[in-house]
């Protein structure tokens, strides 16, 4: 195929694309906001989240394609395909929200805040992070309550015939880890100069300079 050796599109065309290599989060460079051995554990969790995100998305693609192949080639659908995808999307979302919090990627409407000078902006960021953390800690508690209630009721997934709560365990975990990240962000803002979206990312839409990292 003559296409094979065509040069790839130039970097200028990719610079502002949806997902360029330069934008990728380098997990090896991630520093936890927690000190000592706790930081070590937290870095491990961050790695785990990254793996869940990537494998979750790949598994979803494999599962969906397998269903099509099953229907056309073998004349049989995978009756559980829908349930597997539903479980994967919960896993991806709730692993992703704490990963996004670590890297300051949550969507927010920052227009008014951006107009403030650094001092008030920093105070606002402390208040926002602390309140977000409080809300998510509370919700992680109720999520745990919800998962335990589902476990006690014994609901099963109709096709897979496995307990439904198995697919929900990452919900309280994800909410708790996200809350933890916001709590650390509040603390980081209080103890470091500048305004921080997360313990590793400075406010502003340009990526943080490496020397700004603690």
């Amino acid at each position: 195929m003559s296409d094979t050796h065509q040069p790839a599109a130039g970097p200028d065309q990719r610079a502002t694309g949806p997902a360029t290599a330069e934008d990728d989060i380098d997990d090896a460079a991630y520093r936890s906001g927690l000190p000592g051995p706790l930081g070590f554990v937290d870095r491990g969790i961050a790695r785990l989240e990254a793996v869940i995100l990537a494998l979750g998305v790949l598994a979803m693609a494999v599962n969906t394609v397998a269903n099509v192949v099953g229907r056309f080639v073998f004349g049989r659908s995978l009756y559980f395909a829908e349930e597997v995808n539903a479980a994967l999307i919960v896993l991806i979302t709730f692993a992703g929200i704490s990963y996004a919090a670590r890297h300051g990627r949550h969507i927010r409407m920052s227009a008014i805040l951006d107009m403030l000078p650094v001092g008030p902006r920093k105070l606002a960021m402390i208040a926002i992070s602390a309140l977000t953390a409080a809300l998510l800690f509370l919700l992680s508690w109720y999520a745990l309550d919800y998962v335990m209630t589902q476990a006690s009721r014994g609901r099963v997934l109709p096709a897979l015939r496995i307990p439904q709560w198995w697919t929900l365990v990452w919900v309280p975990v994800g909410l708790f880890l996200t809350a933890l990240q916001y709590a650390l962000t509040a603390l980081h803002n209080a103890t470091h100069p500048g305004v921080w979206l997360s313990t590793g990312v400075k406010d502003g839409y340009a990526p943080a300079e490496p020397e700004d990292r603690p």
Binding site: R71, G75, R76, S77, Y79, F80, A81, E82, E83, T149, Q150, R153, G154, R155, V156, L157, P158, A159, R161, Q164
Partner: protein
């Protein structure tokens, strides 16, 4: 007080008509108010059931096919050719069944639910683009079913290819041919407009869509004797109302469908034609006994005894 009542269908479908009658009865005979929440306004079927279990809602209407994920025995209503095809026999079964009035309330109570009544919604029919008169006609026909092992097993036994598809994709799927057919009561085929993209409706007589009204048990037990009676009376009134409403509902829906799409054919299979489909029952019953929970055998036996009683 304000009581909240959620159900799985739109306001003008069977569950909605039942709910409106219930509301009317309660409000006419007491100072209580009943707020109705139709399909989708408080989440999916499983969501509203859980909300009733946790006491946010007081009443919920859920079909046993869905409840099967929680109370496996409830899936008995998906076994084909178990319920009678004769209307009067069917109605007396629902009025007097020991399974419905004795066993199921115990099973629902274990889940914090007070089973108030079960009622039929209408004969289930199969839509397709190819005429169906024998299992061979189902060859390679992809029939959309809910993701339930009994329905999958039934349609496999009928000779079709059961294909689960989320409800939101059914209309488009029938239109483009990802699936070739689906099963539902006539009123639902009419209201969901799926007949627009199908050529044939076949009456196999294999089932009648059953549904159940229940209340949160703590709520119900905490009511005064008077209020409990009020709810029972309202349930009975709605039950009788829905049986009456159902007289001719199927025929009226089929007429409306034929008026909207004159080219569609509606075929009722004869006893001889149904025989090979009926012969699959044993196989599906075996699946039910396997997945139907600890009291599956008891429920099935009692249902059969009740049906015999209703037939005499």
């Amino acid at each position: 007080d304000t009581w909240r009542y959620a159900f799985e269908e739109a306001l003008d479908e069977v569950q909605g008509v039942f709910a409106q009658k219930f509301k009317e009865e309660v409000e006419a005979n007491s100072d209580h108010e009943v707020q109705l929440f139709p399909f989708g306004t408080l989440g999916e079927s499983d969501n509203i059931l859980e909300q009733t279990q946790s006491g946010i809602l007081q009443f919920v209407n859920q079909s046993p096919g869905f409840t099967g994920a929680l109370i496996p025995e409830a899936q008995v209503f998906l076994v084909p050719y178990l319920l009678p095809e004769d209307e009067q026999q069917l109605y007396s079964f629902f009025r007097d069944s020991e399974a419905i009035n004795g066993i199921f309330p115990e099973l629902y109570a274990e889940q914090g639910l007070e089973l108030l009544t079960m009622y039929p919604e209408g004969e289930v029919m199969v839509t397709s683009n190819r005429p169906i008169a024998a299992p061979a006609d189902f060859d390679d026909v992809k029939v959309r079913v809910m993701t339930n092992p009994l329905l999958v097993s039934s349609y496999q036994a009928f000779g079709a290819t059961p294909t689960p598809l989320p409800w939101g994709e059914v209309y488009g799927g029938l239109q483009t041919g990802i699936i070739d057919g689906h099963e539902n009561p006539a009123f639902f085929i009419e209201s969901t407009r799926t007949f627009e993209v199908q050529e044939h409706i076949t009456r196999l007589g294999h089932n009648n869509f059953t549904t159940a009204l229940m209340a949160n048990k703590d709520f119900f037990d905490g009511l005064s004797e008077e209020d409990q009676q009020l709810i029972r009376n309202a349930t009975d009134a709605a039950f009788e109302h829905i049986l009456e409403y159902q007289q001719g509902l199927t025929e009226a829906s089929l007429e409306a469908i034929e008026a909207a799409k004159p080219s569609i054919t509606v075929t009722t299979l004869s006893e001889e034609e149904r025989a090979p489909f009926r012969a699959t029952t044993e196989q599906v019953e075996a699946t039910f006994l396997e997945i139907g929970g600890p009291r599956a055998q008891e429920v099935l036996d009692q249902m059969k005894a009740d049906l015999e009683a209703a037939g005499s």
